[in-house]
C-alpha cells in the first residue's frame, strides 16, 4: 500500500510534466469510498487516500485540459481561493512523478 507522503526524488533523466493535455495514467481510477469517507485513487495493487484538494484537482484531469487549463478551471470554480495556479501545478508535477497522470 503506498504511503501518500513519501519524499519524491527526481532522477536526472526524468522529464517534467509537459503542458499538453493530461489524463489519468493507464489503470488508474478515482472513486468515492463511503467506509473511508473520502475519495481514493486506485491503481494496480495500490490505494491512496486523497485529501479533498488532491481529489478535486485529479477529478479535473480529463484527457483534454493541460496543467494551465486545469488550474484555470479550478480557479473559476473557486474564485474565493485566490491564485492557486502555483499549488495546482506543483501538485500535478508530484502526481506525474508518481505515475498517476500522463
Amino acid at each position: 500500500m503506498s504511503e501518500p507522503d513519501k519524499k519524491i526524488e527526481y532522477a536526472t533523466e526524468y522529464k517534467p510534466l509537459h503542458d499538453g493535455p493530461i489524463r489519468l495514467a493507464r489503470g488508474h481510477r478515482i472513486q468515492y469510498e463511503t467506509v473511508q469517507g473520502c475519495d481514493v485513487l486506485l491503481y494496480p495493487e495500490g490505494v491512496v487516500q486523497l485529501s479533498e484538494s488532491a481529489a478535486m484537482i485529479l477529478k479535473t484531469v480529463d484527457g483534454q485540459k493541460s496543467a494551465t487549463e486545469i488550474a484555470a478551471a479550478l480557479m473559476a470554480q473557486f474564485p474565493e481561493a485566490g491564485d492557486i495556479s502555483g499549488d495546482v501545478k506543483s501538485f500535478l508535477e508530484v502526481a506525474h512523478a508518481r505515475g498517476w497522470i500522463a
Partner: protein, 388 residues
C-alpha cells in the same frame, strides 16, 4: 478490550477496514515453482469453494471496505468461473488484480476478462531465459508466457511483470528488466523469494549470497533512475540480509485478508502453519466477525502481545516486530521478535541459515511444488520448524 477498569473504549486501536482481499481461488496449478508460497501440505486441505460462496465472500468483504481484490491461487485461470467472479467484483467496485503465470490464458480469454471489467493483470516469470524459466517452472512455459504478456497488453490491461528472484536467476536481472521494457510492462516487481511454504523447504538452494544481492540492488537502482515516470520498478532486498524486519502485512489484521480455496481466513499467506490457532472459515462465519472479533485476527493486533526487545522498542510502530510466521519458523514462538532484527537475541539463527545456504551446492535437488511432493513433504516441513 478494556484496561485497568477504565471505561475508555480506545484501549485497543480501532480496527480499520480490510483494504486488501486476496482470494486464493484454487491450489491447482500447472506449474511447480520451487519457491511457491502456497502451503506445502496444500494437497491435504479441504474442498475448493464454489462460485456462489466466493461471490458471497466478495460482497461481504466489499461492504467492510475492501478495495483491492487479488485473484490468485494456484493458477486462477484454471477456474472456468473466473469471468463470473470478475464481473461480480466489477459490479461491487473493487479494483481487481489477476495474479497469474499466464498458463491457461489466450488472446480470447484476455479479451473476455477485459469485458468482465478486470482492472489489471500481473504475469509472473521464472526467468528471462527460456530454459531456466522452464526448469524452475517444471514445464515448458516460457514461449507461451511471452505471447500471453503481449496478449495482456493488446487487450488494453495495465501489466505488472513479476520476476521471482533467487540464487539461480539473480545474475540475469539486467536481462529481465530489458525483457520488461520490450514487453512494455507498466510496473516490474522484482520479488525476492520469501522463505515460506515451498521456498522454505528449498531455502538452502534458493537463498542468494550477499554479494549477489548487492549487485542486483545496483542494477535495480540504475534502471529505476532511467525509467522513472515510465515504468515503476520495485525491488526489495531479501530480509535475511537486513538489520530490521519487514513491516509484515502492515501489521497483523491491519489491511490484509486472505481467503484460501477451502474458505479459511488468514491474516497472511503463511499463518496457517502457526500452532494454537483456530483460523475461522468464511463458510461458517461472516467476514465481519472474522475481521473484527475472531481470536485469530485479534491475537497480534496492536502491541499488547509483544515481548522484549520489541515491547519497549521505539521502532515497534514502524515494523510491528516483523513477521509472526518468520518468528515462529526460526524460534518456535510466533510472538517472539522476528529474528531478522539485530536486536533479537536469536539473530544468529538467521545468520546460520545464510551460511547453510552458502555451503549448499547446486547439486542439491530442488523440491518441486506438486501434489505428490505435497503429501511427501508435509511432515518434513513440520520438523524444519520445530522449536529449538
Amino acid at each position: 478490550m478494556h484496561e485497568g477498569g477504565s471505561p475508555s473504549p480506545i484501549a485497543m486501536p480501532a480496527i480499520k477496514p480490510p483494504l486488501w482481499l486476496l482470494a486464493e481461488l484454487t491450489y491447482a496449478c500447472p506449474l511447480q515453482c520451487a519457491y511457491c508460497s502456497n502451503p506445502v501440505d496444500f494437497n491435504g486441505h479441504g474442498k475448493t469453494m464454489d462460485t456462489e460462496t466466493w461471490i458471497r465472500v466478495l460482497r461481504d468483504a466489499r461492504s467492510m471496505g475492501a478495495l483491492q481484490l487479488g485473484l490468485s491461487g494456484g493458477e486462477p485461470l484454471v477456474r472456468q468461473d473466473l469471468e463470473t467472479l470478475v464481473a461480480e467484483s466489477t459490479k461491487l467496485g473493487y479494483y481487481s488484480n489477476l495474479i497469474t503465470s499466464g498458463i491457461g490464458m489466450d488472446a480470447a480469454r484476455a479479451r473476455s476478462l477485459k469485458a468482465a471489467g478486470l482492472d489489471h493483470i500481473q504475469v509472473s516469470f521464472q526467468s528471462s531465459e527460456a530454459n531456466q524459466n522452464d526448469e524452475i517452472a517444471g514445464m515448458r512455459a516460457y514461449a507461451h508466457k511471452l505471447d500471453m504478456a503481449r496478449a495482456v497488453k493488446a487487450a488494453g490491461f495495465p501489466m505488472v511483470l513479476c520476476f521471482v528472484l533467487h540464487r539461480d536467476n539473480l545474475h540475469r536481472l539486467r536481462e529481465m528488466l530489458d525483457l520488461a521494457i520490450e514487453l512494455e510492462a507498466d510496473y516490474v516487481e522484482l520479488a525476492t523469494t520469501q522463505y515460506y511454504g515451498w521456498a522454505l523447504l528449498n531455502r538452502d538452494r534458493l537463498l542468494p549470497t550477499l554479494e549477489q544481492v548487492r549487485e542486483a540492488e545496483g542494477v535495480a537502482n540504475e534502471y529505476q533512475a532511467r525509467l522513472k515516470g515510465k515504468m515503476d520498478i520495485y525491488f526489495v532486498v531479501p530480509d535475511y540480509y537486513e538489520k530490521r524486519p519487514k513491516p509484515c502485512m502492515n501489521g497483523w489484521g491491519s489491511v490484509f485478508l486472505l481467503v484460501t480455496p477451502d474458505g479459511t481466513a488468514l491474516p497472511c499467506h503463511a499463518a496457517r502453519q502457526l500452532p494454537g490457532f483456530e483460523f475461522p472459515n468464511v463458510q461458517t462465519s461472516s467476514v465481519k466477525d472474522i475481521w473484527q472479533t475472531s481470536d485469530a485476527f485479534n491475537r497480534f493486533r496492536g502491541f499488547g502481545w509483544m515481548k522484549e526487545p520489541c515491547l519497549s522498542c521505539p521502532e515497534k510502530e514502524k515494523d510491528f516486530g516483523g513477521c509472526r510466521c518468520q518468528a515462529f519458523q526460526f524460534t518456535g514462538d510466533a510472538a517472539a521478535t522476528d529474528p531478522v532484527c539485530d536486536k533479537s537475541p536469536l539473530r544468529h539463527l538467521v545468520d546460520e541459515a545464510v551460511s547453510s545456504a552458502r555451503s549448499t551446492t547446486i547439486e542439491k535437488p530442488i523440491i518441486f511444488r506438486n501434489p505428490k511432493n505435497s503429501d511427501r513433504h508435509a511432515i518434513k516441513l513440520a520438523e524444519l520448524t520445530t522449536p529449538r
